[in-house]
């Protein structure tokens, strides 16, 4: 492979990885923007989404939907609804009673929810890896020695489309407006007659549904699921959210794509090798926090907690 070909191939790899990060990062960012909570359970919701869609896909396998694209799309949509509702339930049970509590209690609760989620999946699956069987093959397009499968193209497009839909939802609808208002000042919104509980629940629904869709896509693309698969991507997605500016929706997308590209090229750096890839992305997180804690798209923030 020539240098240009390696470059293009790594860009392609980075874009797909980055769009997964972006989808998960969106959820972190939305929830953080509105209730100022670092939702540790978010990464596990991604994993639950993967398992949920696998169950559905297995059910659909013998129906007219099949386990090819139709089946995958249908199961992904249903998964998004189911897991989105799970997100709302989590908010109701675990976070809502603590809305006025000190931040530390809230963070520990989030950690508890995360443990409950991944450990219950572990108990159900017996800690084993599960094969995510689809009817998709390895056909693709090759230009020179650059090779992209159809699956990769479709998934990247789908991820970007979801992000755009979310962007429109936030900027063009009343609900989106309410969300933006709450992220600025919750008490004030309450006084203005915004049904804050409803909007917060909606935020959790949307954020969680996006993570579930990312989980489904990861299952389709990588072909296996595991109860701890959310852990690494959770940290990465958070990094992505911080890079772009936490609480800022386009920032999460930008951060995700940027981190994906950085990681892909990180593997190619001579003498460093892919073993340092994760160290590399955490270092970026710390560097960003030192020099621009509000993120690339963030505005200067004078408030400090």
């Amino acid at each position: 492979m020539s240098f240009q070909e390696i470059f293009i191939q790594q860009v392609v790899n980075g874009l797909l990885l980055g769009s997964f990060y972006g989808l998960v990062a969106l959820g972190y960012s939305m929830v953080y923007g509105i209730v100022k909570l670092l939702n540790f359970a978010h990464a596990d919701v991604y994993m639950v989404g993967g398992f949920c869609s696998l169950t559905l896909l297995t059910l659909f396998k013998d129906t007219f939907l099949g386990n090819s694209w139709t089946g995958i799309v249908v199961s992904m949509l249903i998964t998004m609804v189911i897991v989105g509702l799970l997100g709302v339930v989590i908010e109701r049970i675990a976070y809502k009673p603590l809305r006025e509590a000190p931040r530390l209690s809230l963070l520990i609760t989030a950690l508890g929810v995360s443990m409950i989620l991944y450990n219950s999946v572990m108990v159900v699956t017996g800690g084993e890896y599960r094969a995510y069987k689809t009817g998709l093959g390895f056909q693709g397009i090759s230009i020179g020695s650059v090779f992209v499968t159809h699956t990769q193209i479709i998934l990247t497009v789908a991820a970007v489309a979801l992000m755009l839909v979310l962007h429109l939802f936030i900027t063009k609808t009343m609900y989106g407006k309410a969300m933006r208002a709450i992220s600025m000042d919750l008490d004030c919104c309450r006084l203005m007659g915004v049904n804050c509980n409803k909007i917060i629940a909606l935020t959790f629904f949307v954020g969680t549904a996006l993570a579930a869709s990312a989980g489904t896509m990861a299952g389709v693309y990588y072909g296996s699921l595991h109860f701890f698969m959310g852990f690494v991507i959770g940290i990465k997605a958070f990094t992505a959210a911080v890079i772009g500016g936490i609480g800022i929706i386009p920032g999460a997308m930008l951060g995700g794509l940027l981190l994906g590209l950085l990681e892909s090229f990180g593997t190619q750096i001579p003498f460093i090798g892919s073993e340092w890839k994760d160290v590399f992305s955490f270092s970026i997180l710390i560097i960003i926090l030192i020099f621009k804690p509000t993120g690339l798209l963030g505005k200067k923030e004078s408030e400090r907690m």
Binding site: Y32, K36, L37, L38, A94, P97, L98, E100, A101, P102, R103, L104, S105, L106, L107, I108, T109, L111, G112, V113, S114, M115, I116, N119, S120, M122, V123, G127, F231, I235, F238, T239, V242, E275, W276, D278, V279, F282, S283, L285, I286, L289, I290, P293, R304, M305
Partner: protein, 354 residues
């Protein structure tokens, strides 16, 4: 007395409150008993004597578990300074344990240094690591610290796994065991005493810290950061103290662990290790030293006694954590003085009937 009620806003709050009241009364009686200085010292002396005598009568397995308990006590007291005293969430505490263990391991194996000389160096390394992580993040919201420490924990493990000096994935093997005034420390009982001594030292230091000017500053920041700043407390610096001091505890425990195990590998410093330590602190009660000790005890003993529940263990812990945070954020240990949770209490207790 009224202050002791926990906010459970259910229909049977009244009965619950009564129960808590009786419990508090009983413990109060016991406390009064201990007010007598003679009784207090004799109980302490007996307790210490039993703990010192324990190795003579117990099996090797039991000593191994007890050694682990003391080890956890040290780690938990260290994390307690960060989480309990200063109110910062650290999710990568195992990293400091790793820093200590690796520093000692490398110095003994590669440079043939005496174990006792490596202790100050490993404490120094922990200080440096604490500063490196704390300085950029402590200026920000406390949430950032949680995720950065989580990242740092993973980073330390990965770095240890990928560097030649830390023995890569296999880690360091064959760390020689130290001599203590001519006595070769090689039996589990020796390490039991070593960790017991370390634990008692940590308890002592923790109490001194809590009652010090620094301790009051921590408490002040924890309860109301803005007010603390207005009173002229340098919030960032005081938090940094907590973070660094806490990491020194972890590093020292790690150093002792390195010689006890004689082998260390990156797998000992997984995220779950950090979570376990945090759980112990939260379970017993953040900021309360006896509570933290109790938490460490439960975390070590529980899985040993209930081997059967195996994989349900962490699930149960997760549930306990959730319930604890919602209904009893101050932990299992009885609450006697104003703590971290007073804010919740104030909110929920206003309309409580006693």
């Amino acid at each position: 007395m009224k202050e002791n009620q926990v906010g459970v806003q259910t229909a049977d709050t009244q009965t619950a409150a009564k129960k808590v009241n009786t419990l508090v009364q009983i413990t109060d009686r016991l406390y009064e008993l201990f007010d007598n200085i003679k009784i207090r010292f004799s109980v302490l002396a007996v307790a210490l004597a039993v703990l010192l005598y324990l190795p003579m009568r117990s099996s090797m397995y039991f000593m191994e578990v007890m050694t682990n308990v003391w080890f956890y006590v040290v780690m938990c007291l260290g994390l307690n300074i960060i989480v309990g005293f200063a109110g910062l969430l650290s999710l990568g505490y195992a990293a400091f344990f790793a820093v200590g263990a690796y520093t000692t391991g490398i110095l003994i194996l590669k440079y043939g240094m005496s174990f006792w000389l490596t202790l100050p160096i490993s404490a120094l390394m922990a200080v440096l690591a604490g500063l490196a992580i704390g300085t950029p993040t402590l200026k920000l919201r406390s949430d950032y610290l949680a995720i950065v420490t989580l990242g740092f924990g993973e980073m330390t493990r990965l770095a240890a796994r990928n560097m030649a000096i830390t023995g890569r994935a296999t880690g360091l093997v064959g760390i020689s065991r130290p001599y203590f005034f001519g006595l070769h420390l090689y039996k589990i009982n020796h390490y039991y005493y070593a960790f017991l001594a370390l634990a008692i030292l940590s308890i002592f230091v923790s109490y001194r810290l809590m009652d010090s000017r620094l301790g009051r500053a921590w408490k002040c920041i924890r309860e109301d950061e803005d007010a603390a700043e207005a009173m002229g407390i340098n919030v960032v610096a005081i938090r940094l103290y907590a973070f660094v001091l806490g990491s020194v505890f972890g590093a020292l425990a790690g150093s002792f662990m390195a010689v006890k195990m004689t082998a260390i590998s990156p797998d000992s410093f997984l995220f779950t290790q950090s979570v376990n330590i945090l759980l112990a602190v939260v379970l017993g009660g953040m900021g309360k030293i006896p509570g933290v000790i109790l938490g460490a005890f439960v975390m070590v003993i529980f899985p040993e006694v209930f081997r059967g529940i195996g994989q349900y263990r962490m699930l149960i812990f997760g549930l306990v954590l959730l319930i604890l945070m919602i209904y009893r954020p101050q932990g299992l240990w009885p609450d006697r003085s104003g703590t971290i949770s007073s804010k919740v209490k104030d909110k929920t207790c206003k309309d409580e009937v006693i």
